[in-house]
Amino acid sequence: MSTALETPDRRTAEFRTRHPHVNYLNANYGIKSWLLTVDHKRIGLLYLFGVTFFFLLGGVYAGAIRLELMTPAGDLVQSATYNKLFTQHGILMIFFFLIPSIPATLGNFLIPLMIGAKDLAFPKINLLSWYIYMLGAGITFYALLTGGIDTGWTFYVPYSTAFSNTYVVAAGLGIFIAGFSSILTGLNFIVTIHTMRAPGMTWFRLPLFVWAHYATSLIMILGTPVIAITILLVALERLAHIGLFDPRLGGDPVLFQHLFWFYSHPAVYIMILPSMGVISEIVATFSRKNIFGYTFVAFSSIAIAVFGFLVWGHHMFTSSQSVYAGMIFSIISYAVAIPSAVKVFNWTATMYKGSISYDTPMLYAFAFIGLFVIGGMTGLFLAALGLDVHVHDTYFVVAHFHYVMVGGALMGYLGGMHYWWPKISGRMYPEGWARFASLVIFVGFNLTFFPQFLLGYMGMPRRYHAYPVDAPVWQVLHVMSTAGASVLGIGLLIPGIYFIWSMRYGRFAPSNPWPSTGLEWRTASPPPTENFLVTPVVTWEAYEFRPIEEMRVVGPGDAPAQPVDGVQPKAITET
């Protein structure tokens, strides 16, 4: 893949002596070199910039929600404002942060590196997908700033089509547009993984991160069109009263819920699968072991992607859907939980007789596993029909999905950011601060969301601006939750600060700091624009740890590795 850059051939020895550290970051400068880049690594960083912005904004909304709920009375903001706060929090976090977070940043950055390719299959489409994302996010952002939206991130009709006086169509348009960026990214990943693997990189030598992204991409390209058409129909219904969802016009409001969840349940796996991929990498590296049951972990991702499309009705157990349909959705929901459980068991088994270090990424992996077990198990509570009737639409559900989405997806994202930060930036982050922050985040997270399980079972409905005064325990739990949210918020700011700090002051990162086995660690940190100066030939299995001296010398990819102490590295073979 040719890049648009007019750079001399970097492979010549002469060039390298004059520019000792040419990499994708310093290959050229200027805003244009970023906005017109077709380098997947730079595009990954562009995405990082976008998702971080929307994460911060979503976090501000969350803070306001938690402050309001400290007291039972709705006294901080008006009801209408409160409804906008949780709606906008949900929309930003789900559509503009969690869905693109890992795939579009880490996935974009790493997939070509991991499979030994120079770039994604369609670099220009990759750049286009970022622009589409920014356009969609911009439109939604504009709608939020100018009027806001109050339908909940679920857009239930007929409230969204006939009753809400807020900017439903505009906000929906942004999500609709951003969906195309998801589809393009998914397409790009699938084609890349199929066609651009380096010689010797067979399917079963792929890192599990790549398998997870392959499964995620399947969901993206098959699921996203459904949410796109659903949003389009909501807009048409709202503007032209076409009568699909409105019973007064012969429509059916429950139909909307089927369409919405047909995408939105698989979408929760768009959020968690990439994170699971990250955890597989981290657990292997910091246990120095091959992942136990590699094929089971790989295929469990595919199983999740497939079964994930068959369980949408578990969001609708009280919706007046037929009780028999409810039973089918319930039983398949249990089936889809099994592959997730298989992953957890395999990660645990990987640690058995490993060589475990407590570097920050591993701390996040520990947190992920523990919290995901609770999040996933409470999914089983919710899939139990008779029990869901009680806890549906209460804080129990809120706690469940925050355990999987923050405790799971976000922990994986943070773990991944730390793990690959040396590769991305060429610098090490401060380890002490990072461990401290991960602890703060873990404590803050649990303090925020655990009380919400209790609140939910006690009957506190979700999306409530105010709650009964005569239930003092509720307020106690809400205050705990708000306190936790403050701790969590501070914890999340710390990495933001030291990552930026480390870009200038961090220690220089070696090409393989941990050390690890993936191809991405066998090129320089940060990698050159074309990733590998010579096409790598893969002769080892996934997570095949070689003697450490050997591992330390396999990179960097900009020079064929030299034998050290008589150990001939097999990692990179000249082609």
């Binding site: 039972p72 009375a73 009801s79 209408a80 409804n83 239930y156 007929p158 409230y159 006939a162 009753f163 019973p247 409001p253 120095r288 072991k289 091959n290 136990f292 089971f296 009280t318 007046s320 009780v323 039973m327 319930s330 039983i331 249990y334 099994i338 459980a341 298989v342 068991f345 640690m351 058995y352 007789k353 060589s355 475990i356 270090s357 596993i369 523990g370 077990v373 089983l380 509570f381 899939a383 139990a384 029909l385 008779g386 029990l387 869901d388 009737v389 009680h390 639409d393 209460t394 006690m458 009957g459 409905p461 999306r463 105010a466 709650y467 009964p468 005064v469 997570y543 003697p547 450490i548």
Partner: protein
């Protein structure tokens, strides 16, 4: 299956026949979750300590997978989850299969209040009186958006969906006052759309029905419904129950109320103009909304005419009207009514 009586901490009171069963299932799940999370967490902590890296260059031996282990940890969780499924499904069937023999209560949700009507004609807003130990069947719909009737103490929840009727039922096992919420987000005042359910001894309930003073009705009868905006407490605590005077005046009593739908309509017609507090409030509400109408005049007029006719016939309680007339077959009048409501809001 006879279940042991369990009570779990941080749970609402158990006030219906479902409550102990749902709590038992909840407890079962908690135990399973405890088992697996303690298992995984302790294994991780144990491995992390036992196999911590002691030498920066150490390299453990790679391990092959194990088909036996993989099968075990797929099949055992699957079997366990099937027991959860079966239990959950059987509870669900009980919850959503109302018995034939039951006291009927009609429920209509609207932004942002719950309207209840007893078989005997009494109407209430945001408060529902029921006798303890009786099966109560709720037939529910909505005038506008989707809402969801949620009674935590009964472990019961059911959406009300425009254009159709949904059912739920319960049998209260304990007298007292319990929360009632709207659980499906329905717009600005969603969190104000709640109140109480008052479970009474059968005799007290009879007294209440006939308009006598029961301890609970006495304190609250006739209070004007408070819109949430002016209720600082959050939940409308002293929930008004509908002004019963209208119903009483109409001479509602169980005997006469078992009239055929036609006869009832006729009787209601004769009572034209009696009106009651609720109707006045409804009318006021209707007018308030009509002011914001964006419809072309003809449509709005037709809308008003339609509701007007209904009003004159004293049939402002759409759900009941529709049910009385059509049983479960056709929700048409409710739809028309909901249309009338919704159309003027847009």
């Amino acid at each position: 299956m006879q279940l042991p009586q369990v009570s779990v901490p941080f749970a609402p009171e158990q006030a219906s026949t479902f409550a102990p069963e749902v709590d038992a299932l909840y407890l079962y799940l908690i135990l399973i979750t405890l088992f697996f999370s303690v298992l995984i967490t302790s294994l991780i902590i144990y491995f992390a300590i036992k196999y911590r890296r002691r030498d920066p260059d150490e390299l453990p031996r790679p391990r092959a997978g194990s088909l036996v282990l993989e099968s075990l940890w797929s099949v055992i969780p699957l079997l366990i989850s099937m027991t959860i499924f079966a239990w959950g499904a059987s509870t669900y069937f009980k919850l959503y299969r109302p018995p034939q023999e039951a006291m009927q209560v009609y429920v209509v949700g609207k932004q942002w209040m719950w309207k209840f009507q007893h078989q005997t004609g009494q109407r209430e807003i945001n408060e529902l009186h029921v006798p303890v130990g009786a099966r109560v069947r709720l037939t529910m719909t909505t005038e506008d958006v989707i809402h969801s009737l949620f009674i935590p103490a009964f472990r019961l929840k059911m959406d009300v969906v425009p254009g159709k009727y949904t059912n739920a039922w319960f049998e209260a096992t304990k007298t007292g006052t319990f929360y009632l919420f709207c659980a499906e987000y329905c717009g600005t005042n969603h969190s104000g759309m709640g109140g109480h359910i008052v479970v009474m001894e059968p005799t007290a309930y009879q007294q209440w029905l006939s308009g006598g003073t029961s301890e609970s009705a006495a304190g609250q009868g006739g209070k004007i419904f408070q819109e949430r905006g002016c209720n600082r407490s959050g939940i409308p605590t002293p929930v008004h129950h509908a002004d019963l005077s209208g119903a009483v005046e109409r001479g509602a009593n169980p005997a006469t109320d078992r009239l055929s739908p036609l006869a009832r309509r006729a009787r209601a017609g004769r009572r034209d103009g009696v009106g009651d507090g609720q109707q006045r409030r409804d009318d006021h509400d209707e007018r308030r909304r009509a002011r914001h109408t964006t419809l072309e005049p003809a449509r709005a007029d037709a809308t008003r005419a339609r509701t007007g006719r209904r009003r004159r016939a004293g049939l402002d309680f759409a759900g009941r009207d529709a049910l009385a007339t059509h049983g479960h077959a056709s929700p048409a009048p409710v739809v028309a009514r909901a249309f009338a409501r919704a159309a003027v809001i847009r």
